[in-house]
Symmetry: C2
């Protein structure tokens, strides 16, 4: 399992389509796309991730709602959106998640590491994690919010609701210096501190 990429072009590959169910105009990418309209398609309506982990965005220039995209097939908007508070069926830019760790045997899984803080600005009680948590409350976290986060290794995705549902917030050790001091730094779609599940992003 050390090598998942049979493609010599590099560790990342995504194929996007301008119609649902892998129909219509088709484009392959091995690196970031800042604006699909510059590639003469008006919107992405289905996609296949063939290599690596990617972040998709509602707007161009990596803005708006975030969608973590791992290897597999996404035939329509709902297959990557998760359950969201607002349904804008749009994905206009995407990029590789470079800090996502390689999936490998368990003994190495500590490459992914994050500190959770009860309050913003790294205040209040704290908890170090290196595993996936489908319910933070079941695993001992006191409430349905996280005040701030410090990613010390790997890439993570946080969710509003238990069981990996709702808004997705992608957190990476190599962006913002891994520091996410306030929900305003989680993405423009974040409107509260609510996080009830989170997991590592592996590729």
């Amino acid at each position: 399992m050390a090598q998942h990429n049979p493609n010599p072009l590099g560790p990342w590959k995504i194929t996007v389509y301008d119609q649902e169910n892998f129909q219509g105009k088709r484009l392959e990418f091995t690196s970031a796309c800042q604006n699909v309209m510059e590639c003469s398609i008006d919107n992405i309506r289905s996609l296949k991730v063939e290599c690596g982990a990617w972040a998709g965005y509602e707007h161009s220039s990596f803005c708006g709602q975030q969608f973590v995209l791992e290897r597999g097939e996404y035939p329509h908007w709902e297959s990557w959106s998760g359950s969201n508070a607002y349904h804008i069926e749009r994905m206009m830019s995407f990029r590789p998640i470079c800090s996502a760790v390689r999936f490998c045997s368990r003994p190495n899984h500590k490459e992914s590491k994050m500190m959770l803080f009860e309050k913003e600005n790294f205040m209040g009680s704290q908890w170090e994690i290196n595993d996936d948590y489908p319910s933070l409350q079941a695993m001992g976290w006191g409430n349905n919010e996280i005040g701030s986060m410090q990613v010390q290794g790997g890439a993570w995705v946080c969710y509003q609701f238990p069981g990996y549902r709702g808004y997705q917030y992608i957190m990476e050790c190599d962006r913002h210096g891994g520091e996410y001091k306030h929900y305003r730094e989680w993405g423009s779609h974040a409107q509260s501190f609510q996080v009830q599940s989170l997991r590592r992003i592996q590729q």
Copy 2:
């Protein structure tokens, strides 16, 4: 972390409301409810899981779409539905997932065990798993389908799409003898063999 339940009534507790955002008529349960209409509410529109892992169902008598419900707060239908092919905002019955394993330190996590088979009726190539897989293809599974499954320990939830999205299929070692020979045995909402992510249910 050995004991998550401060409530002497037992290891399971769920509170349901007939309006969104934990408003309206409120009912507490510590065991299964076969039909919420028999409790004088027409539908569940928000809920809090306070203890244990639960399975929610679209229809009475544990039929229709399935929703895995772990500890935390679900303020509206979209917070538990995931991204689904059809949106019927209805949850009419629910029950504890008795075989969900206790969350505990890693050395014991092998209590959850499942065999995946390429073809229906436990045919074709097979793969034993005891961990969570946000992308089966990234982890080495050959395609976007699973033909059949045999749950040897614990409870699992399978999803149509990568990253724990789409239809949810709850699989338990103590139901059907843990055997799921064909997608027709996954639930009435299953219309294909498509499974692209799966994970253990812990409580």
